[in-house]
């Protein structure tokens, strides 16, 4: 069924009859994602101010959680930073974020929603719907390298574990150590920020297309599996708004890091109610 003899003309880059600002959406995606990548990289290389203990608080930046190696007084999991195996010749000072950031980064990089968005915004393939492209050749996700995006189903599991860790961090953020060494339950602005972060990342992660497939999407009949059908329904409900969850959680995770940094440096005072 060759179409070759039908001589469809190839349109050049940006060629379109669209009148609306078709370039606006990809431009915003480009700017926001670029800004996020720049900020995250900067924050990861800092290696300090990721834990706020102002007035006995217990706020850990999500870019550093789980904190495998930390300093004294921080909730580290394994030992003191830098770990003994960190090479002395390394040009970078050790930052605990290096060990864990690949997880969430890969989750977003291989996410079905982000893929479609950055193929447009960063690779102009296409720049926008019904707008001409710069390149003639195209292999899509059919072969290497982009066929590797299919690892997304494996990336989901660590990402889900991160959500649990971040929820634990939010619970820890309700503990405030007093001068006399006792701990009081309380809710600070930081607690709310961390809790919202875990909630939003949960909404994003558990609305994943791969999760939807594996929880029940691969079956054609769920009628005799009521629990699975319920789970599939929940994941599908989150999945319908996956794009919204993706953007809000992206914004909020960066904001959470900013907040913890500001409190850690005593630039702002964390308002809180102690019970």
């Amino acid at each position: 069924m060759s179409q070759a003899d039908l001589r469809l003309p190839q349109r050049g880059m940006g060629a379109t009859s669209r009148r609306d600002a078709w370039w606006l959406e990809p431009l915003i995606v480009f700017l926001v994602l670029s800004a996020f990548i720049v900020y995250t990289t900067w924050a990861a290389f800092q290696g300090v101010n990721y834990f706020a203990s102002q007035g006995g608080a217990h706020y850990l930046s999500p870019f550093y959680s789980p904190l495998l190696y930390g300093q004294n007084g921080e909730p580290y999991w394994i030992g003191l930073a830098p770990p003994s195996w960190w090479p002395a010749w390394s040009p970078f000072a050790f930052s605990p974020a290096f060990l864990i950031l690949a997880g969430p980064a890969l989750m977003r990089f291989t996410c079905y929603y982000y893929r479609g968005a950055y193929y447009k915004a960063f690779w102009l393939d296409p720049p926008s719907c019904a707008v001409g492209e710069p390149r003639k050749s195209y292999i899509g996700e059919r072969r290497f390298p982009l066929i590797m995006q299919n690892v997304h189903r494996y990336v989901f599991y660590p990402a889900a574990a991160f959500v649990i860790v971040l929820a634990w961090d939010a619970i820890q953020a309700t503990r405030f150590v007093q001068e006399d060494g006792t701990t009081r339950f309380g809710i600070g602005l930081g607690t709310v920020v961390l809790a919202l972060n875990a909630f939003l990342l949960g909404g994003y992660t558990f609305g994943c297309h791969c999760a939807r497939h594996q929880i029940g999407g691969y079956l054609n009949s769920l009628a005799r599996r009521p629990i699975r059908a319920k789970c599939y329904g929940c994941v599908s409900a989150l999945n319908r708004r996956h794009m919204t969850w993706a953007w809000i959680s992206l914004f909020w995770v960066a904001l959470t890091d900013v907040y913890v940094r500001l409190v850690a440096q005593d630039i702002i005072t964390d308002p809180r109610i102690l019970f």
Partner: protein, 273 residues
Amino acid sequence: MTEARDATFRIWRGDHATGAFRDYRTRVTHGMVVLDAVHQVQSESAPDLACRWNCKAGKCGSCSAEINGRPRLMCMTRLETLDLDQPVTVEPLRAFPSIRDLVTDVSWNFRVKAKIPPFRPRTPDAPDGTWRIDQADVERVQEFRKCIECFLCQDVCHVLRDHHKHDEFAGPRHFVYQAALDMHPLDVEERLRQVKDENGIGYCNITRCCTKVCPEHIAITDNAIIPLKERVVDEFYDPLTRLFRIFRAKRKSDRMDGRPEPDASALPPKGAP
């Protein structure tokens, strides 16, 4: 727009290679759609203007065109929603060869569809040769059956529109069709290899343009293409699911919830709906 007013329609005349836009001015009133304006132009000043339409109700899928650069149904695009101070461009679908003016040859789609193995149900559930499906299982495929074959999704898809992969890629409409068949609770046909190889689902880079233009609001990318991509990964790429398959006969029978053959004891009583 409450008063009648004049508006300019910049309509494509001729074929893709030699054609050009021509401007037509006509008087339009409240409630008109683009198809009405085209018909009016036809009767007033361009009797030889070719345009295909049938139902004028958004249900036959014949009047697909590109209006101000966006693939849409002419009969469902109200003039109120367009800026009439500027000429309204009306051009044929760009992913298919133009026959003349607004009419394109979309027959390629029917040839692709004919190659997809049709519905093949499992052996009947009841001795009277009928089947039983739970309502919950029907709903998922119901969405795909709303397709009116307007081919707007095919037109906007850059794999066809810009890269002309018609020989290797079936396009979103046919993934909707394959999803409707493959996810049907009774169907036992195997189509995933075709989805992957002949129909080239890997070319889709999930940019969602098809979903945005679908006049039936089918969630093409999220509900048809991505689930099919995941099924292809299960079947051909994922080393773990392939390993599991050695222990369990997965494949289609597993997606069927292990019920390819009816279990006599689980049959509903005779006469059940």
